[in-house]
Subunit: 361 residues, 2 copies
């Protein structure tokens, strides 16, 4: 019986476990919250991500360790890696959790990004703003997600406030705002033997910095370019597991926004909408098993439930809808569930999606 250790016990860990239990796997989660929503699917070590005793226990109980999120202290990852196989590797995690290291890697691998610059002072910020121009976004290098740790800069008047709010987290990143035609993401997976596989492109819609809707776009002409960028990262990092890359499309080009060294919200549709889900393929990769087929099955879209969930009965009344509740206390801006819609054709997808978006509010 193989035991998989996961750092983090939220909804991503929960969906990894739901994919892994049928494979005969057992799970142990390290999560500081007593309410960690994956806890019921395995053993829960309730402790901080820098709790040496709990990290040691995780390493002892697990045959392999992975992550549901990247904001783990580097010394914790290093400690784990001394005692148990850890995938993706520490270098991948360290790169993905720091926007400047991440962008430096994009540069190194020839993956275009929006214009950016490191910011260490208010002077830096002012110089950069006059150099690159507005609108722009000021972001913390680490620990930002779902729109947190960011300030939108519309003009010179916003600079002092933004610095006052985020300056303590310096160094920051100044990013030119991209007037994109759409946001997409590519989810790739790489096995221990270097085998790679990619899901069809996801087209994503954000609101308030939080993902609202993803649609699979099998056959989209920009897919090959997105896959090429993702493959460069996977191979360069000697990556094992699922990697998501978020991209802005501008004309026929793609600019890398960020990468996530883990299963990703824009790939939740793969549970019902792809032959083998991102969750199962992540497990297959870190366990050294053959990767599964990543083809989409028909047309698929996913709608997030943020801050609260509609009546389950209403969601289940939408033909082809699949409900996923995370068993988390509703709070404003918190992801508490999603619904995936699978259909055999575009009109059916559009009709159902409209209903789900209305229910999501």
């Amino acid at each position: 019986m193989t035991t998989v250790g996961l750092v983090g016990g939220g909804q991503l860990a929960r969906m990894i476990a739901l994919a892994g239990v049928p494979l005969g796997l057992q799970f142990v989660f390290l999560d500081p919250s007593p309410d960690a929503c994956a806890a019921g699917l395995g053993q829960h070590l309730c402790g901080g991500y820098d709790d040496r005793d709990k990290l040691a226990e995780l390493a002892r109980r697990a045959d392999v360790v992975s992550y549901e999120f990247e904001n783990v202290p580097e010394h914790s990852v290093a400690f784990l890696a001394e005692h148990v196989p850890v995938f993706p590797n520490a270098h991948s995690l360290a790169t993905a959790r720091d926007r400047l290291r991440e962008k430096a890697l994009f540069d190194e691998l020839g993956i275009p990004t929006p214009r950016y610059a490191p910011i260490r002072s208010l002077d830096d910020l002012k110089r950069c703003a006059s150099d690159i121009g507005f609108p722009a976004v000021l972001k913390t290098c680490t620990l930002g997600y779902d729109g947190k740790g960011q300030a939108v800069l519309r003009g010179p008047d916003d600079l002092d406030d933004a610095w006052a709010r985020l300056g303590a987290s310096s160094p920051l990143v100044f990013e030119s705002f991209v007037d994109f035609s759409r946001e997409v993401s590519i989810i790739g997976v790489r096995g221990k033997n270097g085998e790679t596989a990619f899901y069809p492109l996801s087209e994503n819609l954000h609101r308030g910095g939080i993902l609202r809707v993803s649609q699979s776009r099998a056959g989209d002409p920009i897919t090959a370019l997105a896959q090429d960028y993702c493959r460069r990262l996977l191979d360069h990092l000697g990556y094992v597991g699922v990697l998501a890359v978020e991209l802005f499309q501008v004309g026929d080009t793609l600019l890398a926004n960020e990468m996530a060294p883990r299963v990703h919200n824009s790939g939740h549709w793969t549970i019902e909408g792809a032959e083998i889900s991102q969750f199962e393929n992540h497990l297959r990769a870190i366990l050294g098993l053959a990767l599964g087929k990543t083809d989409a099955i028909g047309r698929v879209a996913m709608v997030n439930f943020i801050g609260g969930t509609p009546d389950p009965a209403d969601v289940l009344a939408v033909p082809g809808a699949h409900l996923h509740l995370y068993d988390k206390e509703p709070r404003p801006g918190r992801k508490v569930g999603h619904a995936t819609l699978r259909a055999d054709n575009g009109p059916d997808l559009e009709a159902g999606l409209e209903r789900l978006v209305a229910l999501a509010g």
Copy 2:
């Protein structure tokens, strides 16, 4: 948070729970085995099916109770039903668990069966054998499954032995052996409001009385007849939940073999191969939610692992294969897992199925 109580904590309960956790449901299982393989997915009440205290606790903790198998004492079902909503209803369970009552219902509803007769003595048996002829099967009325509680009667010489072996469980059923062209099953589901839905026909292959392979046969011309029989049973019984009916096909006719008042092994392919699985639809039904789409998605087949499992790596290397291990100790004749294969066309299905059957041994 709704809690579903299940009598039985084996692989069927496990797969019901795996379907229900994403819906935000919690589970409590009553099962006498400390190793019940569903236990890790909820709360396990370890006790016998006639343990009044444990039954009372199950009723107290659950908002609704269902079954993963029909061999529950009638007084236990009656006790539960006094304290908590129970689906399917006690009458359906009592009918399905007794071959003579079941066949009487088939007769009443005009559903043809193989010739049969009740047997209460060796004299009965001999008279019946000379009346109906050989080959035939002698079966216990209750508690038979997976080929247990049965004796094949090839000629008059087999009668004494068969009676010696099974007579203590009298009354028995004498059934004429049917020279069928194939075995099929139909899985239907009925909601609290009387809404019904049916999965595509399953074509089943048994060996040693145990199901080995099921294939979905969407569009099979005999489907309408099978659905008609299943609907008669569902409506007559005021049934709520999933009901499986096993049938022999002889020419253009179907003879009912038996029914199972629960999710069924021949419907495991619906997890990946139908829009909404039998497990989720069973939950939707007993919770009064809208039933989900039962359409098959492409071509699907399932192979059981009996007595042991192949190397998971070999199963996962088959493109489109989905592995389900039940976390049960291997024992001869015991179902310990299955694999489902989904494909977009017949040749791909045949090629993968051949590999899986070889692996299953």
